[in-house]
């Protein structure tokens, strides 16, 4: 039996919890706004706008906090990509998830103190936190001020352009969340990883 490791300090857990709750609220309200209809109502339009705006601001603050925290603590090391051999490592992890896991093989990159994320986790988290999150946050903040956006960008309306980028990146993040939640069930038991994110111990 491996010795329990304290991998998730309190601030990471609190940030992660805030992130998760805001994400769920933003996805639900975002979908409700995008598919608003007279015939059916998921969440009343004006409520959805208010919830989406408030949770968006909280997510934005949480994201800025994350950037600072990652910059000033060792947690940022987990997000540093090492390009040399990255492709092979990622492929190895992919092979494990798509084949090895069904053969009860050992995970090729088990979690240890210096390596919280496997190569596939690392690359997806970096993409999510350093590409899609900034895009969704910046476009979201811009949409708070529709009057200040340019009339036209690449031949289409400024608000339309920002909204398209916002919903496409939001959709990609939603897909990430679904996959992320499923992969969290791949632990010693399906609930092990969820418990780790609550008590901090892996």
């Amino acid at each position: 039996m491996t010795k329990p490791m304290y991998l998730y300090p309190l601030w990471v857990r609190l940030w992660h919890l805030a992130n998760a709750l805001m994400f769920l609220a933003l996805i639900a309200t975002g979908l409700s706004l995008q598919y608003s209809s007279m015939d059916y109502t998921i969440i009343r339009f004006d409520y959805a706008v208010s919830i989406h705006n408030i949770t968006g601001i909280v997510l934005c603050v949480a994201y800025i906090f994350f950037l600072f925290a990652n910059h000033f603590t060792s947690n940022g090391n987990y997000y540093q990509l090492h390009l040399k051999g990255m492709f092979d490592r990622t492929l190895k992890q992919l092979r494990y998830y798509s084949y090895g896991i069904f053969k009860n093989e050992e995970a090729p990159f088990p979690t240890v103190v210096g390596r919280k994320f496997n190569p596939l986790q690392k690359i997806s988290y970096v993409f999510v936190m350093y590409i899609f999150m900034p895009v969704v946050v910046i476009t979201g903040v811009a949409l708070f001020f529709p009057d200040m956006l340019p009339d036209k960008i690449f031949g289409i309306g400024g608000v339309h352009f920002f909204d398209l980028i916002h919903i496409i990146s939001g959709f990609i993040l939603s897909i990430f969340i679904v996959i992320h939640i499923y992969f969290c069930t791949i632990g010693k038991t399906p609930l092990t990883n969820f418990k780790s994110m609550i008590n901090g111990w892996h």
Partner: protein, 314 residues
């Protein structure tokens, strides 16, 4: 040198053509009107006072001023002033009694008029009679309260620029609702503050710049080109989804004249709106909907297969 002369010649020709055009345009205008505009398009007018036997210059009452440029750019620009005003106005000084003459209404000319049949003036009148403007203010409220007979120009169906139409049409409402003097011509009530009354509306500036007041404040039956049944405030559209949905009511009002050719372009619902604004809920894209649904479905399917295999092969 020869080239320069040719340019000069071309410039002279174009100047001549412009001048010719202006002269032709002026010639189209009634000489009778020019006599009226001599005084009524200027802030002062001069007349010979027989009593004191000299010319006298006076200030024109600002409410009797008519902008001749706007006049000749409006719906009834071909009209002579005396088509609507009494023939006796040709005499100066005007008889004071003439001010008591009733003004003609739109239906006086347009009722049963085959030429303007498509506008359905009779139905417009019925809608107006049911509207809050008529029920609350009775006969004092005439067509002219909104449609200034000297300047009103049809906008929505002629102007490709929807934003300009919005400003033009909203200014008609604001000419009373943001002007206490005109408002109190027919009401002793305090003019409600439009901004405060719409406090509940998110992104107020964006809404005011993107839709006309009548979009929410009229009941549209589709029988007339522009709805005239202005309703009481409690019946105004307040549900966001009435506009923010794939079957947005704006397509039957503001974007009515663009709607036919532009209902769905590049997969965007209500695409006519996109050339001027963007509305969440109304401008979703069919292809992106299908693509995102397909991607989401595939992901869920793969996860299910993966989970089932994990359970079976454990």
């Amino acid at each position: 040198m020869k080239k320069l002369s040719l340019i000069n010649l071309a410039l002279l020709m174009s100047l001549f053509l412009c001048a010719q055009e202006i002269t032709d345009e002026q010639a189209e205008h009634s000489p009778e009107n020019s006599k009226c505009f001599n005084c009524h398009s200027s802030h002062t007018y001069t007349y010979y006072n027989d009593v004191i036997e000299r010319n006298v210059t006076k200030r024109m009452n600002p409410y009797f001023l008519v902008d001749s440029v706007l006049y000749y750019d409006q719906n009834h620009s071909s009209f002579e002033c005396i088509d609507c005003h009494s023939y006796d106005y040709r005499t100066f000084p005007h008889d004071n009694e003439l001010q008591m003459d009733p003004m003609p209404s739109c239906l006086d000319c347009h009722e049963g008029d085959e030429e303007t049949e498509e506008y359905n003036f009779e139905k417009i009148d019925l809608e107006f009679i049911e509207s809050v403007h008529s029920t609350k203010h009775s006969d004092e409220f005439t067509c002219w309260m909104c449609h200034n007979p000297h300047t009103y120009k049809i906008n929505a169906r002629n102007n490709e620029n929807v934003k300009e139409t919005i400003v033009y049409d909203n200014n008609i409402c604001l000419s009373c609702h943001a002007d206490i003097n005109k408002y109190q011509l027919i009401s002793s009530e305090k003019n409600p503050n439009v901004i405060e009354k719409h406090d509940w509306l998110p992104n107020q500036i964006a809404h005011f710049a993107s839709v006309r007041c009548i979009e929410c404040h009229t009941h549209s039956t589709g029988d007339v080109l522009v709805a005239h049944h202005i309703q009481t405030k409690d019946k105004a559209v307040k549900k966001c989804v009435e506009c923010h949905s794939s079957n947005s009511i704006l397509m039957a009002s503001l974007y009515k004249f663009k709607a036919q050719e532009n209902r769905r372009k590049y997969g965007f619902f209500n695409a006519a709106i996109l050339s001027d604004s963007y509305m969440i809920g109304a401008n979703r894209n069919l292809y992106l909907n299908i693509l995102s649904g397909a991607i989401f479905g595939i992901i869920i399917f793969l996860i299910l297969i993966h989970a089932i295999l994990r359970i079976l092969l454990k």
